[in-house]
Protein backbone atom coordinates (compact mmCIF):
# COMPACT_ATOMS: atom_id res chain seq x y z
CA UNK A 1 0.00 0.00 0.00
CA UNK A 2 1.34 3.43 -0.87
CA UNK A 3 0.29 6.81 0.43
CA UNK A 4 0.48 10.47 -0.45
CA UNK A 5 0.60 13.52 1.75
CA UNK A 6 -0.95 16.49 0.03
CA UNK A 7 0.07 15.13 -3.33
CA UNK A 8 3.51 13.74 -2.30
CA UNK A 9 3.79 9.96 -2.47
CA UNK A 10 5.62 8.01 0.24
CA UNK A 11 5.88 4.36 1.28
CA UNK A 12 3.89 4.78 4.49
CA UNK A 13 1.50 7.36 5.91
CA UNK A 14 3.64 10.33 6.83
CA UNK A 15 3.64 11.88 10.27
CA UNK A 16 1.76 15.16 10.51
CA UNK A 17 4.02 18.17 10.35
CA UNK A 18 4.06 19.89 13.70
CA UNK A 19 3.55 23.62 13.72
CA UNK A 20 6.34 25.75 15.33
CA UNK A 21 5.55 26.54 18.91
CA UNK A 22 4.31 30.01 19.53
CA UNK A 23 5.38 31.83 22.65
CA UNK A 24 2.12 33.76 22.82
CA UNK A 25 -0.47 30.98 22.57
CA UNK A 26 0.24 27.29 22.12
CA UNK A 27 -1.56 26.01 19.04
CA UNK A 28 -3.63 22.87 19.23
CA UNK A 29 -1.96 20.29 16.94
CA UNK A 30 -4.04 19.55 13.88
CA UNK A 31 -5.46 16.05 13.61
CA UNK A 32 -5.13 14.03 10.42
CA UNK A 33 -7.12 11.22 8.86
CA UNK A 34 -6.44 8.79 6.07
CA UNK A 35 -8.51 7.87 3.03
CA UNK A 36 -7.98 5.59 0.07
CA UNK A 37 -9.79 4.93 -3.20
CA UNK A 38 -10.04 1.97 -5.57
CA UNK A 39 -6.24 2.01 -6.13
CA UNK A 40 -5.57 1.63 -2.35
CA UNK A 41 -3.25 4.66 -2.38
CA UNK A 42 -3.64 6.25 1.05
CA UNK A 43 -4.02 10.04 1.30
CA UNK A 44 -3.32 11.84 4.55
CA UNK A 45 -5.75 14.71 4.96
CA UNK A 46 -6.18 17.15 7.82
CA UNK A 47 -9.49 17.26 9.70
CA UNK A 48 -9.78 20.90 8.60
CA UNK A 49 -9.66 19.95 4.91
CA UNK A 50 -12.06 17.06 5.45
CA UNK A 51 -14.65 19.43 6.91
CA UNK A 52 -15.72 20.06 3.29
CA UNK A 53 -17.04 16.51 3.08
CA UNK A 54 -20.22 16.13 5.12
CA UNK A 55 -19.91 12.34 4.81
CA UNK A 56 -16.35 12.08 6.18
CA UNK A 57 -16.96 14.83 8.74
CA UNK A 58 -19.91 12.81 10.06
CA UNK A 59 -17.82 9.63 10.17
CA UNK A 60 -15.03 11.39 12.08
CA UNK A 61 -17.45 12.91 14.60
CA UNK A 62 -19.07 9.56 15.25
CA UNK A 63 -15.87 7.53 15.47
CA UNK A 64 -13.79 9.72 17.77
CA UNK A 65 -10.56 8.13 16.41
CA UNK A 66 -7.17 8.88 17.89
CA UNK A 67 -4.32 9.70 15.49
CA UNK A 68 -3.00 6.14 15.74
CA UNK A 69 -6.41 4.57 15.18
CA UNK A 70 -6.99 6.82 12.17
CA UNK A 71 -3.65 5.82 10.65
CA UNK A 72 -4.43 2.16 11.14
CA UNK A 73 -7.94 2.49 9.68
CA UNK A 74 -7.95 4.62 6.52
CA UNK A 75 -11.44 5.34 5.22
CA UNK A 76 -11.97 3.09 2.21
CA UNK A 77 -13.75 4.57 -0.79
CA UNK A 78 -13.61 1.59 -3.13
CA UNK A 79 -16.14 3.17 -5.47
CA UNK A 80 -13.86 6.15 -6.25
CA UNK A 81 -10.94 5.92 -8.69
CA UNK A 82 -7.57 6.86 -7.20
CA UNK A 83 -6.95 9.84 -9.49
CA UNK A 84 -10.44 11.20 -8.77
CA UNK A 85 -9.94 10.87 -5.01
CA UNK A 86 -6.60 12.67 -5.45
CA UNK A 87 -8.44 15.57 -7.16
CA UNK A 88 -10.94 15.70 -4.30
CA UNK A 89 -8.20 15.64 -1.65
CA UNK A 90 -6.28 18.39 -3.48
CA UNK A 91 -9.40 20.53 -3.68
CA UNK A 92 -10.18 20.06 0.02
CA UNK A 93 -6.60 20.97 0.93
CA UNK A 94 -6.59 24.04 -1.31
CA UNK A 95 -9.85 25.31 0.20
CA UNK A 96 -9.12 24.36 3.80
CA UNK A 97 -10.46 27.07 6.13
CA UNK A 98 -11.01 29.46 3.23
CA UNK A 99 -14.24 30.83 1.86
CA UNK A 100 -14.90 29.15 -1.48
CA UNK A 101 -14.75 31.44 -4.53
CA UNK A 102 -17.83 31.88 -6.76
CA UNK A 103 -16.14 29.99 -9.64
CA UNK A 104 -13.65 27.16 -9.92
CA UNK A 105 -11.84 26.92 -13.23
CA UNK A 106 -9.51 24.05 -12.28
CA UNK A 107 -12.02 21.28 -12.87
CA UNK A 108 -11.25 18.55 -15.43
CA UNK A 109 -12.20 19.43 -18.99
CA UNK A 110 -12.49 15.80 -20.04
CA UNK A 111 -16.15 14.82 -19.68
CA UNK A 112 -15.53 11.27 -18.37
CA UNK A 113 -13.25 12.61 -15.62
CA UNK A 114 -15.73 15.37 -14.79
CA UNK A 115 -18.62 12.90 -14.52
CA UNK A 116 -16.56 10.60 -12.25
CA UNK A 117 -15.67 13.62 -10.13
CA UNK A 118 -19.34 14.63 -9.90
CA UNK A 119 -20.31 11.16 -8.67
CA UNK A 120 -17.46 11.06 -6.15
CA UNK A 121 -18.19 14.53 -4.83
CA UNK A 122 -21.89 13.72 -4.58
CA UNK A 123 -21.05 10.56 -2.63
CA UNK A 124 -18.65 12.40 -0.32
CA UNK A 125 -21.22 15.21 0.09
CA UNK A 126 -18.91 18.12 -0.73
CA UNK A 127 -21.55 20.73 -1.39
CA UNK A 128 -19.46 23.58 -2.86
CA UNK A 129 -17.40 21.35 -5.16
CA UNK A 130 -20.60 19.64 -6.32
CA UNK A 131 -22.03 23.04 -7.24
CA UNK A 132 -18.91 23.90 -9.31
CA UNK A 133 -18.90 20.51 -11.05
CA UNK A 134 -22.62 20.69 -11.85
CA UNK A 135 -22.18 24.21 -13.22
CA UNK A 136 -19.50 22.87 -15.56
CA UNK A 137 -21.72 19.96 -16.63
CA UNK A 138 -24.57 22.44 -17.21
CA UNK A 139 -22.27 24.55 -19.42
CA UNK A 140 -21.63 21.45 -21.56
CA UNK A 141 -25.32 21.06 -22.42
CA UNK A 142 -26.38 24.70 -22.76
CA UNK A 143 -27.62 25.41 -26.27
CA UNK A 144 -27.35 21.74 -27.32
CA UNK A 145 -30.08 19.63 -28.92
CA UNK A 146 -31.51 16.55 -27.13
CA UNK A 147 -29.49 14.32 -29.51
CA UNK A 148 -26.26 16.17 -28.75
CA UNK A 149 -26.93 15.97 -24.99
CA UNK A 150 -27.57 12.24 -25.32
CA UNK A 151 -24.19 11.91 -27.02
CA UNK A 152 -22.34 14.05 -24.46
CA UNK A 153 -23.84 12.24 -21.49
CA UNK A 154 -23.70 8.85 -23.20
CA UNK A 155 -27.42 8.31 -22.63
CA UNK A 156 -29.22 5.71 -24.74
CA UNK A 157 -32.50 6.65 -26.44
CA UNK A 158 -35.72 5.39 -24.85
CA UNK A 159 -35.99 2.78 -27.62
CA UNK A 160 -32.43 1.57 -27.01
CA UNK A 161 -33.11 1.58 -23.28
CA UNK A 162 -36.25 -0.51 -23.72
CA UNK A 163 -34.44 -2.96 -26.02
CA UNK A 164 -31.59 -3.33 -23.50
CA UNK A 165 -34.10 -3.85 -20.69
CA UNK A 166 -35.92 -6.54 -22.70
CA UNK A 167 -32.63 -8.24 -23.49
CA UNK A 168 -31.59 -8.18 -19.83
CA UNK A 169 -34.95 -9.64 -18.78
CA UNK A 170 -34.64 -12.32 -21.42
CA UNK A 171 -31.13 -13.17 -20.25
CA UNK A 172 -32.22 -13.23 -16.61
CA UNK A 173 -35.11 -15.51 -17.53
CA UNK A 174 -32.79 -17.87 -19.39
CA UNK A 175 -30.32 -17.90 -16.49
CA UNK A 176 -33.10 -18.60 -14.01
CA UNK A 177 -34.38 -21.42 -16.24
CA UNK A 178 -30.82 -22.79 -16.46
CA UNK A 179 -30.42 -22.66 -12.69
CA UNK A 180 -33.76 -24.43 -12.20
CA UNK A 181 -32.74 -27.13 -14.67
CA UNK A 182 -29.36 -27.54 -12.95
CA UNK A 183 -31.03 -27.73 -9.54
CA UNK A 184 -33.44 -30.34 -10.90
CA UNK A 185 -30.48 -32.27 -12.32
CA UNK A 186 -28.70 -32.11 -8.96
CA UNK A 187 -31.81 -33.33 -7.20
CA UNK A 188 -31.93 -36.36 -9.48
Amino acid sequence: MSSTEQGTSSAAPAEPTTAPESAAAPEVPESFYYVHGKDKVVHKVSAGALQHSALIHGMISNLGYTEEQAKANPFPFENIDGDILQMVVDWCNQHKGKPTPPEDTNLPKQKEKLFDLVLAVNYLEIKELLTYCCKQVAMMVKGKSPEEIREIWMIPTDAEDEAAEKEAKKRAGKEAAGETAAAAGDAK
Binding site: V118, L119, N122, L130, T131, C134, K135, V137, A138, M139, V141, K142, G143, K144, S145, P146, I149, R150, W153, I155, P156, T157, D158, D161
Partner: protein, 323 residues
Protein backbone atom coordinates in the same frame (compact mmCIF):
# COMPACT_ATOMS: atom_id res chain seq x y z
CA UNK B 1 -27.29 10.69 -12.43
CA UNK B 2 -28.20 10.95 -8.72
CA UNK B 3 -31.15 13.24 -7.93
CA UNK B 4 -29.07 15.86 -6.12
CA UNK B 5 -26.66 16.08 -9.07
CA UNK B 6 -29.54 16.51 -11.52
CA UNK B 7 -31.09 19.20 -9.30
CA UNK B 8 -27.77 21.05 -9.17
CA UNK B 9 -27.34 20.86 -12.95
CA UNK B 10 -30.91 22.09 -13.54
CA UNK B 11 -30.32 24.96 -11.12
CA UNK B 12 -27.46 26.15 -13.37
CA UNK B 13 -29.48 25.92 -16.58
CA UNK B 14 -31.90 28.37 -18.14
CA UNK B 15 -35.55 27.59 -18.90
CA UNK B 16 -34.93 26.62 -22.55
CA UNK B 17 -32.09 24.25 -21.69
CA UNK B 18 -34.24 22.50 -19.07
CA UNK B 19 -36.98 22.04 -21.66
CA UNK B 20 -34.38 20.53 -24.02
CA UNK B 21 -33.09 18.30 -21.23
CA UNK B 22 -36.66 17.14 -20.70
CA UNK B 23 -36.66 15.76 -24.26
CA UNK B 24 -33.46 13.75 -23.84
CA UNK B 25 -35.09 10.66 -22.34
CA UNK B 26 -38.14 9.52 -20.38
CA UNK B 27 -36.21 9.46 -17.10
CA UNK B 28 -35.22 13.12 -17.46
CA UNK B 29 -38.77 14.06 -18.46
CA UNK B 30 -40.22 12.34 -15.38
CA UNK B 31 -37.55 13.78 -13.12
CA UNK B 32 -38.13 17.37 -14.30
CA UNK B 33 -41.92 17.03 -14.20
CA UNK B 34 -41.82 15.71 -10.64
CA UNK B 35 -39.31 18.29 -9.46
CA UNK B 36 -40.60 20.93 -7.08
CA UNK B 37 -41.27 24.17 -9.00
CA UNK B 38 -38.93 26.09 -6.68
CA UNK B 39 -35.98 24.07 -8.04
CA UNK B 40 -36.65 25.03 -11.65
CA UNK B 41 -35.31 28.14 -13.38
CA UNK B 42 -37.63 31.08 -14.08
CA UNK B 43 -38.96 31.28 -17.63
CA UNK B 44 -39.22 35.05 -17.06
CA UNK B 45 -42.06 35.67 -19.50
CA UNK B 46 -43.90 38.97 -19.26
CA UNK B 47 -47.18 38.00 -20.97
CA UNK B 48 -49.09 34.79 -21.49
CA UNK B 49 -52.27 34.38 -23.44
CA UNK B 50 -54.34 31.46 -24.66
CA UNK B 51 -57.21 31.80 -27.10
CA UNK B 52 -59.62 29.16 -28.29
CA UNK B 53 -61.03 29.64 -31.71
CA UNK B 54 -61.01 27.35 -34.70
CA UNK B 55 -57.50 26.61 -33.53
CA UNK B 56 -56.00 27.10 -30.10
CA UNK B 57 -53.39 29.85 -29.97
CA UNK B 58 -50.91 30.06 -27.11
CA UNK B 59 -49.04 33.36 -27.14
CA UNK B 60 -46.07 34.16 -24.94
CA UNK B 61 -44.03 37.33 -24.75
CA UNK B 62 -40.58 37.36 -23.19
CA UNK B 63 -38.92 40.22 -21.34
CA UNK B 64 -37.33 41.44 -24.59
CA UNK B 65 -40.86 41.83 -26.05
CA UNK B 66 -40.32 38.91 -28.42
CA UNK B 67 -43.55 37.07 -29.08
CA UNK B 68 -43.82 33.31 -29.47
CA UNK B 69 -46.95 31.80 -31.00
CA UNK B 70 -47.94 28.15 -30.70
CA UNK B 71 -50.86 27.13 -32.90
CA UNK B 72 -52.73 23.91 -32.16
CA UNK B 73 -54.85 22.90 -35.11
CA UNK B 74 -57.65 20.44 -34.60
CA UNK B 75 -58.24 19.97 -38.35
CA UNK B 76 -54.58 18.97 -38.93
CA UNK B 77 -54.13 17.55 -35.42
CA UNK B 78 -50.85 19.41 -35.22
CA UNK B 79 -48.86 21.96 -33.27
CA UNK B 80 -46.97 24.71 -35.08
CA UNK B 81 -44.25 26.87 -33.62
CA UNK B 82 -41.75 29.03 -35.40
CA UNK B 83 -42.65 27.65 -38.82
CA UNK B 84 -42.23 24.05 -37.63
CA UNK B 85 -45.32 21.82 -37.58
CA UNK B 86 -45.49 18.64 -35.54
CA UNK B 87 -48.23 16.07 -36.05
CA UNK B 88 -49.77 15.10 -32.74
CA UNK B 89 -50.82 11.64 -33.94
CA UNK B 90 -53.31 10.18 -31.46
CA UNK B 91 -53.07 13.04 -28.95
CA UNK B 92 -55.88 15.55 -28.52
CA UNK B 93 -54.87 19.14 -29.46
CA UNK B 94 -56.63 20.64 -26.44
CA UNK B 95 -54.79 18.28 -24.09
CA UNK B 96 -51.47 19.19 -25.70
CA UNK B 97 -52.18 22.94 -25.56
CA UNK B 98 -53.19 22.79 -21.89
CA UNK B 99 -50.15 20.61 -21.12
CA UNK B 100 -47.84 23.14 -22.81
CA UNK B 101 -49.43 25.99 -20.85
CA UNK B 102 -48.98 24.00 -17.65
CA UNK B 103 -45.31 23.53 -18.45
CA UNK B 104 -44.83 27.24 -19.09
CA UNK B 105 -46.61 28.17 -15.85
CA UNK B 106 -44.54 25.60 -13.96
CA UNK B 107 -41.43 27.58 -14.88
CA UNK B 108 -42.97 31.03 -14.35
CA UNK B 109 -41.68 32.52 -11.12
CA UNK B 110 -41.52 36.24 -11.82
CA UNK B 111 -44.73 38.25 -11.97
CA UNK B 112 -46.37 38.43 -15.39
CA UNK B 113 -47.45 41.84 -16.63
CA UNK B 114 -50.53 40.32 -18.21
CA UNK B 115 -52.31 36.97 -18.52
CA UNK B 116 -55.09 36.60 -21.03
CA UNK B 117 -57.51 33.66 -21.15
CA UNK B 118 -60.06 33.63 -23.92
CA UNK B 119 -62.52 30.88 -23.07
CA UNK B 120 -64.84 31.49 -25.97
CA UNK B 121 -65.61 27.79 -26.15
CA UNK B 122 -65.44 26.64 -29.71
CA UNK B 123 -66.90 23.25 -30.44
CA UNK B 124 -63.92 20.95 -30.17
CA UNK B 125 -63.84 17.20 -30.34
CA UNK B 126 -63.01 17.11 -26.65
CA UNK B 127 -66.23 16.69 -24.68
CA UNK B 128 -65.32 18.84 -21.68
CA UNK B 129 -65.17 22.60 -22.27
CA UNK B 130 -61.89 24.47 -22.38
CA UNK B 131 -62.66 26.19 -19.05
CA UNK B 132 -62.94 22.78 -17.34
CA UNK B 133 -59.62 21.66 -18.84
CA UNK B 134 -57.90 24.85 -17.64
CA UNK B 135 -59.53 24.59 -14.22
CA UNK B 136 -58.24 21.02 -13.85
CA UNK B 137 -54.77 22.14 -14.89
CA UNK B 138 -54.72 24.99 -12.33
CA UNK B 139 -55.86 22.61 -9.60
CA UNK B 140 -53.10 20.21 -10.60
CA UNK B 141 -50.26 22.75 -10.50
CA UNK B 142 -51.61 23.93 -7.14
CA UNK B 143 -49.85 27.28 -7.33
CA UNK B 144 -51.23 30.78 -7.73
CA UNK B 145 -50.27 32.53 -10.96
CA UNK B 146 -48.46 35.77 -10.30
CA UNK B 147 -49.82 38.35 -12.69
CA UNK B 148 -50.51 42.07 -12.50
CA UNK B 149 -53.29 42.14 -15.08
CA UNK B 150 -55.72 39.30 -15.64
CA UNK B 151 -58.02 39.30 -18.66
CA UNK B 152 -60.68 36.59 -18.94
CA UNK B 153 -63.19 36.25 -21.75
CA UNK B 154 -66.07 33.94 -20.93
CA UNK B 155 -69.81 33.56 -21.18
CA UNK B 156 -70.46 32.44 -17.61
CA UNK B 157 -69.54 32.89 -13.99
CA UNK B 158 -68.22 29.32 -14.09
CA UNK B 159 -65.81 30.29 -16.88
CA UNK B 160 -64.47 33.29 -14.93
CA UNK B 161 -64.27 31.23 -11.76
CA UNK B 162 -62.24 28.54 -13.52
CA UNK B 163 -59.33 31.03 -13.73
CA UNK B 164 -59.79 33.93 -11.28
CA UNK B 165 -59.24 32.05 -7.98
CA UNK B 166 -55.93 30.69 -9.28
CA UNK B 167 -54.30 34.10 -9.66
CA UNK B 168 -52.20 35.41 -6.82
CA UNK B 169 -54.27 38.09 -5.03
CA UNK B 170 -51.11 39.75 -3.71
CA UNK B 171 -49.77 40.56 -7.19
CA UNK B 172 -53.07 41.04 -9.02
CA UNK B 173 -53.85 44.70 -9.70
CA UNK B 174 -56.30 44.75 -12.58
CA UNK B 175 -59.07 42.28 -13.43
CA UNK B 176 -60.67 42.64 -16.83
CA UNK B 177 -63.70 40.39 -17.33
CA UNK B 178 -65.12 40.32 -20.84
CA UNK B 179 -68.24 38.59 -22.05
CA UNK B 180 -68.41 36.83 -25.38
CA UNK B 181 -71.44 39.03 -26.09
CA UNK B 182 -71.90 42.51 -24.55
CA UNK B 183 -75.62 41.98 -23.93
CA UNK B 184 -74.83 39.04 -21.71
CA UNK B 185 -76.03 38.87 -18.11
CA UNK B 186 -73.68 37.12 -15.74
CA UNK B 187 -74.18 36.20 -12.10
CA UNK B 188 -71.47 37.71 -9.92
CA UNK B 189 -72.27 36.32 -6.46
CA UNK B 190 -69.23 33.96 -6.38
CA UNK B 191 -66.84 36.25 -8.25
CA UNK B 192 -67.27 39.22 -5.87
CA UNK B 193 -66.55 37.01 -2.87
CA UNK B 194 -63.10 35.97 -4.10
CA UNK B 195 -59.99 37.31 -2.42
CA UNK B 196 -58.78 38.35 -5.88
CA UNK B 197 -61.81 40.64 -6.36
CA UNK B 198 -61.56 42.09 -2.87
CA UNK B 199 -57.83 42.85 -3.19
CA UNK B 200 -57.74 44.09 -6.81
CA UNK B 201 -57.15 47.78 -7.44
CA UNK B 202 -59.06 48.09 -10.70
CA UNK B 203 -61.79 45.95 -12.25
CA UNK B 204 -63.64 46.17 -15.53
CA UNK B 205 -66.57 43.90 -16.28
CA UNK B 206 -68.29 44.88 -19.47
CA UNK B 207 -71.52 42.90 -19.15
CA UNK B 208 -74.68 43.07 -17.07
CA UNK B 209 -73.37 42.07 -13.69
CA UNK B 210 -76.17 40.42 -11.75
CA UNK B 211 -76.15 40.30 -7.94
CA UNK B 212 -73.36 42.85 -7.74
CA UNK B 213 -73.92 45.77 -5.37
CA UNK B 214 -72.16 49.11 -4.98
CA UNK B 215 -70.62 47.68 -1.78
CA UNK B 216 -68.76 45.21 -4.01
CA UNK B 217 -67.07 47.95 -6.06
CA UNK B 218 -66.56 50.79 -3.57
CA UNK B 219 -63.08 49.58 -2.48
CA UNK B 220 -61.68 49.83 -6.02
CA UNK B 221 -59.60 52.75 -7.23
CA UNK B 222 -60.92 52.08 -10.75
CA UNK B 223 -64.08 50.40 -11.95
CA UNK B 224 -65.90 50.07 -15.24
CA UNK B 225 -69.01 47.98 -15.66
CA UNK B 226 -72.69 47.60 -16.30
CA UNK B 227 -75.28 47.09 -13.60
CA UNK B 228 -78.93 46.17 -13.94
CA UNK B 229 -80.10 49.20 -11.92
CA UNK B 230 -78.92 51.85 -9.48
CA UNK B 231 -80.66 53.99 -6.86
CA UNK B 232 -79.89 57.40 -5.38
CA UNK B 233 -78.94 55.61 -2.16
CA UNK B 234 -76.30 53.67 -4.14
CA UNK B 235 -74.91 56.81 -5.76
CA UNK B 236 -74.74 58.65 -2.44
CA UNK B 237 -73.07 55.63 -0.82
CA UNK B 238 -70.39 55.71 -3.53
CA UNK B 239 -69.95 59.48 -3.17
CA UNK B 240 -69.43 59.14 0.59
CA UNK B 241 -66.92 56.34 0.08
CA UNK B 242 -64.94 58.02 -2.70
CA UNK B 243 -64.53 61.37 -0.91
CA UNK B 244 -62.74 59.56 1.91
CA UNK B 245 -60.63 57.26 -0.29
CA UNK B 246 -57.37 58.98 -1.25
CA UNK B 247 -56.54 56.21 -3.79
CA UNK B 248 -59.77 56.58 -5.75
CA UNK B 249 -59.37 57.38 -9.46
CA UNK B 250 -62.58 56.57 -11.37
CA UNK B 251 -65.74 54.50 -11.34
CA UNK B 252 -67.85 54.35 -14.45
CA UNK B 253 -70.97 52.30 -14.89
CA UNK B 254 -73.87 52.01 -17.20
CA UNK B 255 -77.31 51.01 -15.95
CA UNK B 256 -79.52 48.68 -17.98
CA UNK B 257 -82.93 49.53 -16.50
CA UNK B 258 -82.72 53.28 -16.74
CA UNK B 259 -85.13 55.33 -14.67
CA UNK B 260 -84.62 58.97 -13.83
CA UNK B 261 -83.24 59.08 -10.32
CA UNK B 262 -85.27 61.40 -8.12
CA UNK B 263 -83.89 63.41 -5.23
CA UNK B 264 -80.35 64.09 -6.46
CA UNK B 265 -80.71 67.86 -6.65
CA UNK B 266 -82.55 67.96 -3.31
CA UNK B 267 -79.55 66.45 -1.55
CA UNK B 268 -76.57 67.44 -3.70
CA UNK B 269 -77.83 70.77 -4.95
CA UNK B 270 -78.48 71.71 -8.58
CA UNK B 271 -76.34 70.10 -11.24
CA UNK B 272 -74.06 72.01 -13.58
CA UNK B 273 -75.17 71.26 -17.12
CA UNK B 274 -72.93 71.18 -20.14
CA UNK B 275 -74.13 69.76 -23.46
CA UNK B 276 -75.97 66.53 -22.57
CA UNK B 277 -74.20 65.96 -19.28
CA UNK B 278 -75.03 66.86 -15.68
CA UNK B 279 -72.15 67.44 -13.25
CA UNK B 280 -71.77 67.55 -9.47
CA UNK B 281 -68.56 68.32 -7.61
CA UNK B 282 -67.59 67.43 -4.05
CA UNK B 283 -64.63 68.29 -1.89
CA UNK B 284 -62.43 65.36 -0.83
CA UNK B 285 -61.31 64.73 2.73
CA UNK B 286 -58.05 66.50 3.69
CA UNK B 287 -57.41 67.88 0.19
CA UNK B 288 -57.68 71.39 -1.19
CA UNK B 289 -56.64 70.43 -4.71
CA UNK B 290 -58.53 67.20 -5.40
CA UNK B 291 -62.24 67.13 -6.20
CA UNK B 292 -64.64 64.26 -6.74
CA UNK B 293 -66.67 64.83 -9.88
CA UNK B 294 -69.81 62.95 -10.92
CA UNK B 295 -70.75 63.15 -14.56
CA UNK B 296 -74.08 61.67 -15.59
CA UNK B 297 -76.10 61.28 -18.75
CA UNK B 298 -79.19 59.12 -18.93
CA UNK B 299 -77.97 55.67 -17.89
CA UNK B 300 -74.24 56.45 -17.57
CA UNK B 301 -72.51 57.55 -14.38
CA UNK B 302 -68.87 58.47 -14.05
CA UNK B 303 -67.24 59.33 -10.73
CA UNK B 304 -63.80 60.78 -11.23
CA UNK B 305 -61.05 62.20 -9.07
CA UNK B 306 -60.10 65.50 -10.71
CA UNK B 307 -58.08 68.66 -10.00
CA UNK B 308 -59.82 71.75 -8.63
CA UNK B 309 -58.64 73.60 -11.76
CA UNK B 310 -60.69 71.24 -13.92
CA UNK B 311 -63.98 72.29 -12.34
CA UNK B 312 -65.70 74.56 -14.90
CA UNK B 313 -66.50 78.15 -14.03
CA UNK B 314 -69.95 78.51 -12.62
CA UNK B 315 -70.10 74.98 -11.20
CA UNK B 316 -70.68 74.68 -7.47
CA UNK B 317 -68.33 72.54 -5.37
CA UNK B 318 -70.01 70.98 -2.35
CA UNK B 319 -68.11 71.19 0.92
CA UNK B 320 -66.69 67.98 2.35
CA UNK B 321 -69.56 66.17 4.01
CA UNK B 322 -69.33 62.51 4.75
CA UNK B 323 -73.00 62.27 5.81
Amino acid sequence: MPALVMENIIKSLDFRSVLTLRQVCRDFLNFIDRLNDSKLPDSGFSKIGIRLNKDICLKIEDQDCRQHHFIYSESDNSRSYNGKTTTLENLNVMDVAVRDLELILKFQKSTLNCSNFDLNDFQHSKESPFSVELNNMFRKINRKIKTKDLVIISDSQFGFMSILPFSDPETLEFIDLHPTDHEMQIEMDEIVKTEQWRKAKKIHCIFYALNMTVEDICHLSGFGGTMPSISFRDLDFLRKTFITNSNFEYSEFAVRDFEKIEGISDTWGPAFHSEYWSYWYFRIKDSNEKILGLKSQENIYLFQNIELNDVPNGAAVQDYNKN
